[in-house]
């Protein structure tokens, strides 16, 4: 066995020396091939008038008809703009939030308190959206909801405001609950990066007379930069996607326009109305845009900051 890898390219040698590690990744690779790559042939039905009777191969081809209809469909345009608005607001407020939380947690002197806060802050991540939205209906009920009552007393809203049934408060609720749910979980990766910073740097800075803010600004944040950039690239790629669970559950007859994002629209046309090809066209459009966005973010980041994902 050991005689085999004597003369190989460096990549091959590296692969061979890590063969057991590679073997361990095998299930994950198989998983991706089976569930992500093989089903991908299904996207061809976006260019067909798909009927189950004829199947994926024999359904009649209609070229770009679905896409032509798509770009003339006002509901599609509406859902596209909803998707982008929700995602951008989520990015603007939701992206920096866990960084702040991580920085603040890191500055806590009392370690036990820090651990408790950290655990509590990532618990909501494990609560399903079904429960969260159920809680929202209860807490925001204008007659019986605790949070609603509190907001009325603070004169933030009028006494008859239905928060769950208003297009105006919809975006705020979407972004706020999303941040509440994910802030703790997302801060873990930053806390891990902070833990990797050499303590000597802080000591040296203290000796040089740097106060706490200076230390955060000149040591902690630069150490976090690569992590921040990579996560930002990934988030930009996700701008065109939205949280289906959250929006689908929060949708009701009074917020149906505000909650109509691409994934909800494609679900409704595909699975509810049975227009499989049209729904696939929506999905394909979404994937192509996501790919372009991510590639663009990666490219500009490589040019500007020299950090990039690939």
């Amino acid at each position: 066995m050991s005689s085999v890898p004597a003369k190989r390219s460096s990549l091959g040698r590296k692969f061979w020396t890590q063969r057991y590690l590679m073997l361990l990744t095998l299930p994950a690779v198989l998983w991706i091939i089976v569930f992500n790559y093989i089903p991908m042939y299904g996207i061809i039905i976006a260019f067909q008038d798909y009927t189950p009777f004829h199947g994926v191969i024999h359904s009649p081809w209609i070229g770009l008809d679905n896409f032509r209809e798509l770009f003339n469909d006002p509901t599609f345009r509406e859902s596209l703009s909803n998707t982008l608005v929700i995602s951008i607001v989520k990015l603007v407020f939701g992206f920096p939030a866990p960084i702040f939380l991580a920085l603040m947690l890191n500055e806590l002197m009392f370690k036990r308190f820090k651990r408790i806060v950290q655990s509590l802050s990532y618990l909501p991540y494990f609560v399903s959206w079904v429960l969260v939205v159920g809680l929202m209906y209860t807490l925001l009920d204008p007659e019986t909801g605790v949070v609603s009552k509190m907001l009325v007393h603070l004169h933030v809203i009028g006494s008859d405001t239905m928060l769950m049934g208003s297009e105006k408060s919809f975006l705020t609720l979407v972004v706020f609950t999303e941040i509440w749910k994910s802030i703790g979980w997302n801060s873990i990766i930053y806390l891990a990066a902070i833990a990797g910073v050499d303590p000597q740097l802080y000591e040296a800075a203290t000796v040089d007379g740097a106060n706490r803010f200076r230390r955060v600004w000149h040591i902690t944040l630069p150490a976090l930069k690569p992590t921040i950039i990579i996560l930002l690239i990934l988030s930009v790629g996700g701008l065109i996607n939205s949280n289906f669970d959250q929006l689908y559950l929060m949708q009701n007859s009074m917020t149906q326009d505000a909650a109509n994002v691409l994934s909800v629209y494609s679900y409704k046309t595909g699975l509810v109305s049975g227009r499989f090809s049209y729904a696939t066209a929506i999905g394909l459009f979404q994937s192509v845009v996501a790919f372009v966005l991510m590639y663009a973010a990666n490219y500009s980041s490589r040019k500007i900051t020299k950090e990039s994902l690939f």
Partner: protein, 564 residues
Amino acid sequence: MKGTGLKVLATAALSLTLLAGCGSNSESDKTDNKPSDTGTSTDTAQTQTADGPSWKIDTSPFTFSQYFYGNWASNYLWKDQYAMKLATEKTGVKIDRKLATGNDEDYLNTMIASGDLPDTIMLDWNNPAVTKLINNGMVYSMDELMDKYAPELKKMLDPDMVKYHSIDGKLWYLPNNYETADRLTSGIPITPIRPWFIRSDIYKAIGSPKIESTDDLMTALKAAKEKFPDVNPVGVEFFDVAKNGFQGSLSMDFLIDSFSPKLLEEQVIDDQQILQYPMRNKGFIEAFRYMSELSRNGLFDPQLLIYKQEQYQEKLYGAQYAVASNFMNNIYADFNPKIESTIGADKKYEVIGGLKANGQDPRYPASRLMGWQGFFITKAAKNPERIIRWAEYAWSDEGQMDFRYGKEGETYDLVDGIPTFKPEVRDMMLKDNGGWYAKYGFQASTLMWRSGKLWDSAAARDFQADQPEQFAAAKLLEKYNYDKYSLGMDNLEPDGSSPEGVINAKVKDLWNKTIPKLILSKNDADFDSIYNDFVTQMDQVGAEKVEKVMYQRHLADLEKKGVK
């Protein structure tokens, strides 16, 4: 050396076992049935004579799979209950019945799109997917199978039913709950609407006024609000046009049939060859204006516009509404008993009779059921022969009695020629319905309900005896019923994936978001402008095209019923 080889093997084994857990179950299920049905069937077939029920030809063990459209139906699963065992004892057949794990529409459409069908399907006969199943050649025609394997079954079927349910000259499914013409006068009285109910103690406290018109109701509600400021005046079921139809909430029918007693007739405009959307009808819209008046007077909680059914039910269990609406049987068999045992008998709900509006009596479009679900045999069925013969059993009088009452002398007796459950069975049915299903499984095994004088009269007698209050309420409302059968208004909406279906979905979407706006409008002028905007938008997306198609479907319905 040996060490590394072993390690490689171990890691490989580890990674494979991680993967292996997933996909093997379904395959082994399928192969289980095979040996039993191929081997024995031919031998026994030869020894039996051709006449006599076809299902007796082969009674060897056999299992077929079935998808039941309705994820609520956990009572219908086969778990060795009495009725299931009885059916299996006689025919050898077991049903592996499956329910959707989530939304039924998703489950069904995914199943159709992937072509991965069970042996049989129980699906509402007027579901849009039925056309897909038939046009895509995914199901057998019943005629073909009956001619080949079960000619007796064909003779048993009601010719009117066959005519009504045939598509392109063939019967593609067996509909259960197809009721014959005499159903309107026999059996349990039909209540085609969700009646509105008033809480007894509140009704007494406001002096038990007569509530006979929509104005009376408004006055009563105002009085109730004054005396009981903490109680919500009106409760209605959830609003969702896609799920409930154009009335938005099923509770709206009660008002709509008062404000627009001739809605169905008025929708048909013969000289223009269109069948109008109900939203164009003045009376229909007046019902929503009435809701808006309730809301303006503080008598309607706007949260109900965004509630899910469960949220409403929860409040209703707590008797938190002065006036509330629900499916009649649910009020008498579920809500009232629970309210009585938890809050007090005085807070039970009693029915409000039909309401006059603008001096006119209401009219409730009653109909015998044209069928509920169709029993489909798919092309994926490995042994359609056994399945169609089993259907013959289920359809026969014997099968019906086994399904509804079990064995004479064991679970029921004939009293004056009418089947009557043994006292212990009946007691359990009335007091512990869930336990009753789990033990006996009556009305849950074959699911092939069919009209029959014997069991229809038994049902009417039992209903009157077990539910005197509900019987009285049903009788009170019955006088406003009329037979809508001959109007040809069944199954009108176009198929969802057709161009008109797409427009129809848009119209529904528009109407769905217009309802809350109408109900929350601040005054009549506001209401009118919202309504006019809606009509303009509806016309813009092409509502008239759908109205033309609905007219054609209306003509087709008349023809199928042999009316014109």
